[in-house]
């Protein structure tokens, strides 16, 4: 019987083959070559394998010990731009400060997922290789200078980034493609390219690099903060480590936001900076002392007199153990010279209330009489419930229709907080992202399509339901063409009740096509290019557009100076000035009009500055710009002087 050979034994020869032969007899004759040759061969192979092992160990150790980051600040910047030049998104992110990588990666991936869901980008979008975008970095030169230990500024002294985009190849989703197709100048979108298109001159750009675990990385947040520091009116030196504001969190997610809101409202910048999450908020902590100094310069060391009078917060779970905190009800009071303003955010609406102080009302009475003062008293809270930003269910177009709703209505923001060492901190970048992109999350594709059309300039889709309800028409459906939707909107404006004050209550100015005639009735203004299809109107649609002359101001003789008769779009500044001078000389125009033009025309000198200087943001450009501003302001000072009119 054959014994099962142990492969570990390798060349053991005492096993008989199948069939049960006497192994000892067979073995000596089987060896095909002398044992010494086999031994030498095996020794050679062993030596070679040993070399391979040594090489592999060296490779492994070297790879494992390789520093994350570049050897010098200059190399970090070179790696950053090399990755841009290669359109290597991974390389770009890898060259960044590790603190910023995760923020960027998670933000991009979340934004991509959201954008795909609402069909703004193509599902085939790969952030690692965005089709249709070509970038090229050339002639990069730089100079590094230390800011602090482990922080160096790299000033670019030359180089350009050229960008070209092929719209056809860009991974745009159906929603965006539709907006382009429906745009009036869609043909101009076909190819955005050219040697000068998207060309950025890098000379004068300062990037900040930071050292982490021995390797140097580009820090975008530091670079942004450094750019702001350089642009401040008051010169601040780079903050020393001793000046940095140490992070100090709150006891709970709710407490972090409550303290943050209090600090923001009262101008306690130091506390706001303290609440920024460690790592992500490092830049804020480093530059925080400058922010505090600037704030004190603006409103004094005691902060602002504003007060948070009510604050009810709702906390929900976010990704990766983070919490999302938003205000269910928030009331903030701002004292002013004439009384107080208060902003109330509740039920997804934000409203403002203005209240006049008794002192101010007394002044009104003393100056304008009791009747005027009584009117002011009656109008206490005049704007209450009339100056509101709301969600889709209320009067305004949904806040989602504004790409940056957080800027319009910061009170509705969602704040992201995270835990570090048992304390809770605010995540500034995630909060910003959540409050800008977050509102779009959950929108259906159709709602996003309406939003995109509104953003693309189709105002018919931007009108709130309340307007359509007031005019008795159904909002435009998605099947309508651009001109059909505009015609429908014009009909709606025409049919609005004469006393309709709009969804905000203080007058309705929501449409570029809406105007008032001599009788102060709502009318649609014919903007001169849209055709109003008859099938959308029960009456001849042309009747909707009143004669254009109803809305034109009295003809101004100076108009002819800006619009020469040769069919050109506009006259040169020299031609305008000559034309105005002739009109003044002939007595058709007041000297003041010409002088005002001359004060404004000083700015045209900026057009003569070479593009490379204008776009460089250099000291030379700043000097030229400041000179122009000063001369224009001096000119205006002259004609604003009371004695001027007497002379005139």
């Amino acid at each position: 019987m054959t014994e099962v050979q142990d492969p570990e034994e390798g060349a053991r020869r005492d096993d008989p083959p199948a069939g049960g032969m006497d192994a000892p007899e067979a073995v000596p004759e089987v060896a095909p070559e002398p044992a010494s040759d086999g031994g030498r061969r095996r020794a050679t192979l062993t030596a070679l394998a040993g070399l391979a092992v040594a090489g592999a160990v060296a490779f492994g150790v070297a790879s494992l010990g390789a520093s994350d980051g570049a050897a010098t600040p200059e190399e970090a910047v070179e790696a950053f731009f090399a990755a841009i030049d290669a359109e290597d998104a991974i390389g770009v992110v890898e060259s960044l400060d590790p603190n910023e990588r995760e923020i960027l990666r998670t933000s991009l991936e979340q934004t991509q997922a959201d954008a795909e869901e609402i069909e703004v980008v193509d599902p085939a979008l790969d952030l690692r290789d965005v089709r249709g975008v070509e970038l090229q970095v050339t002639d990069l030169t730089m100079r590094a200078s230390p800011l602090a230990s482990g922080v160096e500024a790299v000033d670019l002294t030359g180089g350009t980034v050229s960008a070209a985009a092929d719209l056809e190849r860009l991974p745009l989703g159906s929603v965006v493609r539709e907006v382009i197709d429906r745009s009036e100048d869609g043909e101009d979108w076909e190819r955005i390219e050219g040697p000068d298109d998207g060309r950025i001159d890098l000379d004068g750009v300062r990037l900040v690099t930071v050292q982490r675990d021995g390797g140097w990385h580009v820090s975008l947040l530091h670079s942004g903060a450094e750019a702001i520091r350089a642009d401040l009116d008051t010169a601040h030196p780079y903050p020393t480590p001793e000046e940095a504001i140490a992070p100090s969190g709150a006891e709970s997610p709710e407490a972090a936001v409550r303290e943050g809101v209090e600090a923001a409202v009262t101008g306690d910048i130091a506390r706001l900076v303290e609440l920024a999450a460690p790592g992500e908020g490092e830049v804020l902590h480093t530059y925080g002392s400058i922010l505090v100094a600037e704030a004190e310069e603006s409103w004094g060391a005691d902060g602002l007199d504003n007060e948070v009078t009510e604050l009810d917060l709702a906390v929900s779970d976010g990704p990766d153990g983070r919490k999302l905190v938003s205000a269910e009800r928030l009331v903030v009071t701002f004292p002013s010279e004439v009384g107080t303003q208060s902003v109330t955010h509740a039920d997804d609406c934000t409203s403002w209330e203005y209240t006049y102080s008794e002192e101010y009302l007394d002044e009104i009475e003393a100056e304008y009489g009791a009747e005027e003062a009584a009117w002011y008293r009656e109008e206490q809270g005049y704007f209450l419930d009339r100056d509101r930003w709301c969600d889709a269910a209320a009067a305004l177009p949904s806040q989602e229709q504004f790409p940056f709703g957080v800027l319009v209505d910061p009170w509705s923001s969602t704040i992201v907080v995270e835990e570090h060492g048992g304390r809770w901190y605010v995540s500034p970048t995630r909060s910003l992202l959540e409050s800008t992109v977050g509102p779009y999350r959950g929108l259906g594709a159709d709602e996003m399509r309406r939003t995109a059309r509104a953003i693309g300039g189709e105002w018919a889709y931007a009108q709130p339901d309340a307007v359509w309800e007031a005019c008795g028409l159904e909002p435009p459906g998605l099947e309508l063409s651009r001109s059909e939707a505009e015609a429908l909107a014009n009909r709606c404006y025409e049919q609005l009740p004469d006393d309709y004050e709009g969804p905000f209550g203080y007058g309705w100015y929501g449409s570029p096509y809406l105007g008032f005639d001599d009788d102060e009735e709502h009318v649609a203004i014919d903007d001169g290019f849209e055709e109003l299809p008859e099938d959308l109107s029960e009456e001849p649609v042309d009747d909707l557009s009143p004669p254009a002359e109803t809305y034109l101001e009295e003809e101004n003789p100076a108009d002819q100076c800006w619009w020469p008769a040769e069919g050109r779009n506009e006259a040169t500044p020299e031609e305008v000035e000559a034309c105005l001078s002739d009109l003044v000389a002939s007595g058709q125009l007041r000297q003041r009009v010409l002088d005002e033009y001359r004060c404004d025309a000083i700015y045209y000198e900026l057009d003569d500055v070479p593009a490379e200087v204008r776009e460089s943001g250099s000291a030379e450009w700043d000097a030229i710009y400041d000179d122009v501003v000063q001369r224009s302001e001096a000119c205006w000072d002259v004609i604003s002087d009371e004695s001027y009119d007497l002379e005139d």
């Binding site: 570990e8 060349a11 060896a31 095909p32 095996r42 192979l45 359109e87 890898e94 990666r105 690692r128």
Partner: protein, 149 residues
């Protein structure tokens, strides 16, 4: 007699050597494939080692054990070299086990990377080589063949 014990043993020794050579060659091919382009970002190709390094640095693998395990990827060539050394020393079972582990590791990562947008040809080649390596390693581990001195 057509095929006696001696002939069988000669054939067994030959097949054993061939199998060892096959394992060594496929092992080398699989390891070589790990240095080929596995992923493309923009116009930049990354080998498997660069892919893993980038994944760790970018935090794709999260925190904790995963990045630590991923860092061991850099020792795949060492595993392969160890398998070759075991073969050279006649330790076929040890060589087979090591080669299998190397093949399984390369195959597993290749499958993951191939599922990611931007995967390059190196991952596909590595997957094929890894499959061959696992089969050859299993053979050298479990099949009863002589290999001579």
């Amino acid at each position: 007699m057509a095929a006696g014990p001696e002939a069988w043993q000669v054939a067994s020794v030959g097949a054993g050597r061939v199998l060892e050579v096959v394992v060594a060659v496929v092992l080398a091919a699989a390891v070589a494939a790990t240095f080929a382009p596995w992923h493309r970002s923009g116009v930049v190709d990354r080998s498997s080692y660069e892919v893993v390094r980038s994944a760790v640095r970018l935090g794709v693998l999260g925190e904790g054990a995963q990045p630590a395990v991923a860092r061991l990827w850099t020792f795949v060539p060492l595993g392969a070299a160890g398998a070759l050394l075991a073969l050279a020393r006649g330790r076929r079972r040890a060589a087979g086990v090591l080669a299998s582990l190397v093949g399984l590791s390369i195959g597993a990562l290749a499958v993951v990377v191939r599922s990611v947008p931007g995967a390059a040809w190196g991952a596909s080649v590595a997957l094929v080589a890894a499959a061959g390596l696992v089969i050859a390693a299993a053979a050298v581990t479990f099949v009863d063949l002589e290999v001579g001195p």
